[in-house]
Symmetry: C2
Subunit: 301 residues, 2 copies
DNA sequence: TGCGACCATAACCATCGGTTATGGATGTCC
DNA sequence: GGACATCCATAACCGATGGTTATGGTCGCA
């Protein structure tokens, strides 16, 4: 019923050469192959395209009528192909960066972006918010080529990362909580509190933010599961539990009714820029380099 | 490198349904076949056209850009196909009628044509002059669908015919020939003359116009071979030979220096309208019917 | 936790699209 | 006129393509 694009090229070649052997070598195929394909085309169209009298080949009336149409189809194909090439190019020049929470931290993202754009001015960066169910912020399923993540990463051998920020932890409490009066809190004082936890799918990161390692075998009490800052805020206000977080993220929770306090006795947490070990991507490399330069400058400054 | 038109239809179907299973049944193929073809298309284009996340299918950026282009290619194909259909229709409505010499004979052709056009007003008749090397006037190689021929036909079982005209023979002589003075000539008086003969490829027709059967075993003397009326005229004027012909064709030779005279002792010759036994063509049938009616009328009148 | 929906993969088979070798018709040259 | 060159068609064969059915894996849902 319908026809291979190649057959159109073949037809046009023969129509232009009016010579099967020459057309065949122009197309880099054998003459019998070309003869057979043209016959096949004629059969599916139900009409002869060429008159092959001995010693010369001519277009039939139908063939002559078909030729310009075939050209138009091929031209349309050409344009279609070009749009594909174009979107491949823009895709090759776009980088999707995932993040689980806002990275914030004093203009870090804009600084990286501008440093990156100096190197690759025509590249396009897309920032992507990814829910907390995925601790890799889209790296795992390929929807991000790079991502800002909290260590430790699950399935760590698939990824590489550069640590961007290292920060002390704070705890977010209801403003009327008994411990809210203290300037700083020992983690010991929190072990009996109900905690808000990341979803199970977050893997080792869930345990990390529950500070399981610092509980000496005592399992944490889970007040609720959280998948977004808003949810977290609401749960804390409701008194469903407390929650550890990096000090740099404290602003996202400290609205009315919630306070954050320094916690002693916990190691600092690490925000990293991570990428897939298997994806050799120059954009990723450039973005990572930009991030490294920015953080080095900011430490120096 | 290039793509089957079918793949475009497949792509468009999936893009419209955004559902492989439904698209597959709309296309009357199995779902795995469709999946595989789309994957193949994506591979040859070098870009993903669809995002298949679990539970829903979406166009990628490249796919969305490609979709309208694909529509355009298919539309161009549609138009190409329509021109093919159109030329098939006009071809199905055209009849090529071959003839070896002018048929002439008092408006016979126009009469047949007008009678034919009453029946099939949209049909188109093309008259074709065929050289004398082919006694079937193009029937044998298919370049004519019907033809005016002189009997007997070579390879007669391939053809059918209707006798249109039956006429006495005349002989064409140089005007200064010894026999030119007679009103009519016995064939006996001509047997020693050199004759102009049709080419060998004319088969039995050559012998027929040499009246070999009336020579009682004496082989004819061949003065020259002829393939057109002009050639014949020239040879006769030059005295290279004489030539039998139907009385109805006499006007084509009786110019200065050539005369035609009735010949006694020869059977009348028969002009027939012939067609291929294997070609079932309503146009041919109508043309033959028209010819029969015209000749019946002209006999009656 | 089993089930249904849905896309992908596997295994298999006919047809397609290519190859080389050969045939047959035609025009050419000695 | 016969050997030869040219050129398109056919034959025989082979790997790739495009379809089938059966099955797997993942996700949403009751």
């Amino acid at each position: 019923m319908d026809v291979h694009g190649r057959d159109l090229r073949y037809f046009v070649a023969v129509a232009e050469e009016l010579h099967f052997t020459r057309a065949a070598e122009r197309l880099f195929i054998s003459q019998p192959a070309l003869s057979k394909q043209i016959q096949m085309l004629e059969r599916t169209l139900g009409v002869a395209l060429f008159d092959r009298s001995a010693k010369d080949v001519r277009l039939t009336e139908a063939g002559a009528a078909f030729l310009p149409q075939a050209h138009k189809v091929l031209a349309a194909w050409d344009r279609a192909w070009q749009t594909i090439e174009k979107s491949k190019r823009t895709q090759a020049a776009s980088l999707t960066v995932g993040m689980s929470t806002s990275v914030g931290r004093d203009g870090l993202l804009p600084a990286i972006r501008s440093r990156f754009s100096e190197q690759l001015p025509e590249a396009r960066i897309t920032l992507r918010q990814v829910g907390w169910e995925d601790p890799t912020a889209g790296l795992a399923d390929g929807s991000s080529a790079a991502a800002f993540v909290w260590l430790p990463l699950p399935d760590a051998r698939r990824f590489q990362w550069a640590v961007i920020v290292q920060e002390p932890m704070v705890v977010a409490l209801p403003a009327r909580h008994a411990l809210a009066g203290s300037k700083a809190i020992d983690f010991e004082e929190l072990v009996a509190e109900p905690f808000l936890a990341l979803p199970k799918s977050a893997g080792p990161l869930r345990d990390y933010w529950l500070a399981v390692e610092q509980r000496r075998g005592q399992p944490p009490l889970i007040g609720a599961e959280i998948t977004s800052p808003d949810e977290t805020y609401e749960f804390i206000v409701e008194g469903r539990g407390v929650c550890l977080l990096a000090i740099g993220n404290a602003p996202s929770l400290t609205r009315g009714g919630v306070v954050t306090r320094r916690v002693r006795g916990l190691p600092p947490c690490q925000l990293a820029l991570a990428w897939r070990r298997d994806a050799e991507n120059p954009l990723v490399r450039a973005y990572v380099a930009a991030a490294r330069e920015v953080t080095r400058d900011s430490r120096a400054g």
